[in-house]
Every structure is written in structure tokens, then in C-alpha cells.
């Protein structure tokens, strides 16, 4: 093999190695918790930080929404089917907020382990169907 060609091959090998390392790091990074997003069970296990803003996502527990006193303050429980965390929020809730709906709350934990949300966002799922179909699926016990 000519030395020039050898050199070129070595450069290409170096480049491929660089790209592979980069992709490796990217995949490793995606394995970790990059958005500071925690589920209620992680919060219950104490993995979430105290007194720092983070995002918590889960389903609103049916029948847990209550409005203590007047004004816009609302309390509800958020679950991931394992643990529950109480969320307190003062403000206007989005249209899609309802019991059983997935939401993402942005806020911090207070000393009693309740989550004080500064922002509540409703995450709607990627399913679109007419109400009759949803009704029928619910009746037949199918998964929505």
C-alpha cells in the first residue's frame, strides 16, 4: 500500500472512531435523566431534590381534585400507578386538565413532601378518536 493511501485510511479510521465515540456518548446521555423529570414514585422514594424546580409527570387521581377555600387554589394527587404525590397549585388550569388525564407539573417540593406547582401543563396523548369510539372502547374494557 502506498504511504499516501495508508495515511488517508488512518485519517478516515480516526474520523470514524471519533463519530462512534460521539454517538456512544449521546446514547449514554439519553439513558440518563436529562430533563430533570421525575415520576411520583421517584419523588416518593426521595430521589427528587428538595427546594429545587423540577418537572413531575403523572396521571391525576380520580376523585382527588379539591378546592380548599375560594380562589384559584386547587389540590390534587398525581400518580404513576405506584405512588401518589399531592400537588398544590394556584392558577388557571388548562382545558384538558381532568381526572385521569396525564399532566406535567413544574414546581418544587415543600417540607411536608407536597409538590407546589408553579405551572400545570396538560399533556394530551397521541390518540385521536370520536367520543363514541372512546365510549365503546371503554365499555369493552379496551385500553385507551
Amino acid at each position: 500500500m502506498k504511504p499516501a493511501r495508508k495515511k488517508r485510511l488512518a485519517l478516515i479510521a480516526l474520523m470514524v472512531a471519533g463519530i462512534a465515540t460521539g454517538i456512544g456518548f449521546a446514547l449514554k446521555s439519553l439513558d440518563e435523566n436529562i430533563m430533570f423529570f421525575f415520576t411520583p414514585s421517584e419523588v416518593a422514594q426521595g430521589k427528587a431534590p428538595q427546594g429545587r424546580l423540577f418537572r413531575m409527570g403523572g396521571m391525576v387521581v380520580s376523585g382527588s381534585v379539591s378546592r380548599p377555600g375560594e380562589g384559584l387554589t386547587v389540590h390534587f394527587d398525581l400518580t404513576d400507578n405506584e405512588s401518589q404525590v399531592t400537588v398544590m397549585y394556584t392558577g388557571i388550569l388548562p382545558d384538558l386538565f381532568r381526572e385521569g388525564q396525564g399532566i406535567i407539573a413544574n414546581g418544587r417540593l415543600d417540607k411536608n413532601g407536597a409538590f407546589v406547582a408553579q405551572e400545570v401543563l396538560a399533556k394530551h396523548d397521541e390518540n385521536y378518536m370520536p367520543p363514541e369510539v372512546a365510549e365503546a372502547m371503554k365499555k369493552s374494557g379496551g385500553e385507551l
Partner: protein
């Protein structure tokens, strides 16, 4: 005439650019001064409230670093373009991407390292928590080479233009956004006592990808600009 091996050529080019930078001190003093000045503007503008400053410090430092890196980018190829040595480089027998890498490395040593050195001082002035300062240094160490590498593509594309400056920022800033997001996210997370290895890995991924790929684009762009 004896021919230089590729690694010798790399080192000569690096040394040449560093010598030029040392002779012409403005090249590394100006971006550094700019960086410090921009950061000083923030306490004056938003008010010197310690809690507020500590909270937005990662963002301030990184935005300032981004702007400083961007303003200094033009010096990678500008003078070589003006005096014709860039044309000589393009005609060399060595693969252009490697030579580009040498020039970018010189640029980073001249502009990135000073930022790295003064940032602990500035972090302290902004009241950034101790826990975050190590991560700040790490993100600047990993992040500024990415800025130089990606920026070199933009400079190479615009070096032939009479008024390349504003268009350069339009090209380069969107590509800088991911670095900004992950770097400031890492510092903010570290300040809150969170595990930020995900962000650091992501920055490392950007670094390796840009080292491997951006010199190719830069070399192609230089060829285009010289034609």
C-alpha cells in the same frame, strides 16, 4: 526542499497561529475583555440582587461566552484570507481538514482557554454556588472547542464576503443553541445538587462529533470561498 509529514505540518501551523496571536495581543485580549464586560453589564441592568444573580449566572456566563466566541471567530481565517496564505494552504499536499483542525485548535487555545481561566472569578462575582463552579469549568472546557469548531464552518462560508459579520451570526448562533442548552442546564442542575452526567455526556457527544465532522465542512466551505 524536504517535505513535512502531516503531523509536522499540523504542529507548524498551530505554532505559527499561536505566535501570530502572541505578537498581536488584541486577538486574545479583546474577546476576553468583551466576555468580562458583558457579564458586568448584567448586575448593572437587572439589579444587584444576589439571589437573582446566582440563579441566572449559568445563563449569563454561557451567553457571554457564546457571544465572545462568535465575535472572535472571524480571526480564524480572515487575516490568512486577506494576505493570501489561505490559498497557499489549500494548495498544500496535506488533507485540508487536518490543517483546518490545526487552525481551529490554535483559535481555541487563544480564545477558549482565557475564558476558562477567568470564569471562576466571574462565577464568584455573580455568587454562583460552589457546587456548580466545577461543572461550570467542565462545561466551558468541553463547550468552547465545540463553539470554535462549529463556528469555523460559518467563518469559512462567509470569509469571502465584504460584510460577513452579521450573516455569520445568523448562521452560527442557531447551531450554538444545543451547546447553550445542555451547558447551562448542567450548571443549573449542579447548583441544585442534581446528577448532571447526562448533560456532560451530551456535550462530550457534540465535541467528538464536531471534531470528526466539522473540519470536513469547513474545508469544503473554504474551497468554495476561494473559488
Amino acid at each position: 526542499m524536504n517535505r513535512l509529514s502531516l503531523s509536522q505540518a499540523f504542529i507548524y501551523l498551530l505554532r505559527r497561529d499561536l505566535t501570530l496571536a502572541v505578537r498581536n495581543r488584541a486577538e486574545f485580549a479583546n474577546p476576553l475583555l468583551f466576555f468580562i464586560l458583558v457579564i458586568t453589564l448584567f448586575p448593572l441592568a437587572v439589579g444587584a440582587v444576589p439571589e437573582l444573580l446566582a440563579r441566572i449566572a449559568p445563563g449569563i456566563i454561557w451567553v457571554a461566552a457564546l457571544l465572545a466566541a462568535m465575535l472572535s471567530l472571524d480571526s480564524i481565517f480572515r487575516s490568512d484570507f486577506d494576505d493570501g496564505s489561505l490559498e497557499q494552504l489549500l494548495m498544500s499536499a496535506h488533507p485540508m481538514p487536518v490543517l483546518v483542525l490545526a487552525k481551529v485548535a490554535a483559535h481555541w487555545l487563544v480564545t477558549g482557554i482565557p475564558l476558562l481561566l477567568v470564569s471562576p472569578l466571574l462565577a464568584e462575582m455573580l455568587g454562583m454556588p460552589q457546587a456548580a463552579q466545577g461543572i461550570l469549568l467542565l462545561t466551558i472546557l468541553i463547550g468552547t472547542p465545540i463553539l470554535s469548531l462549529v463556528g469555523s464552518i460559518g467563518v469559512a462560508l462567509t470569509v469571502g464576503l465584504p460584510k460577513g459579520g452579521i450573516i455569520l451570526s445568523l448562521l452560527v448562533l442557531p447551531l450554538y443553541v444545543p451547546v447553550l442548552i445542555f451547558a447551562s442546564g448542567a450548571i443549573e442542575g449542579a447548583a441544585g445538587g442534581l446528577d448532571v452526567s447526562a448533560q456532560i455526556y451530551m456535550l462530550l457527544a457534540f465535541l467528538f462529533l464536531s471534531i470528526s465532522l466539522s473540519p470536513l465542512a469547513t474545508a469544503a466551505a473554504l474551497r468554495m470561498s476561494m473559488s
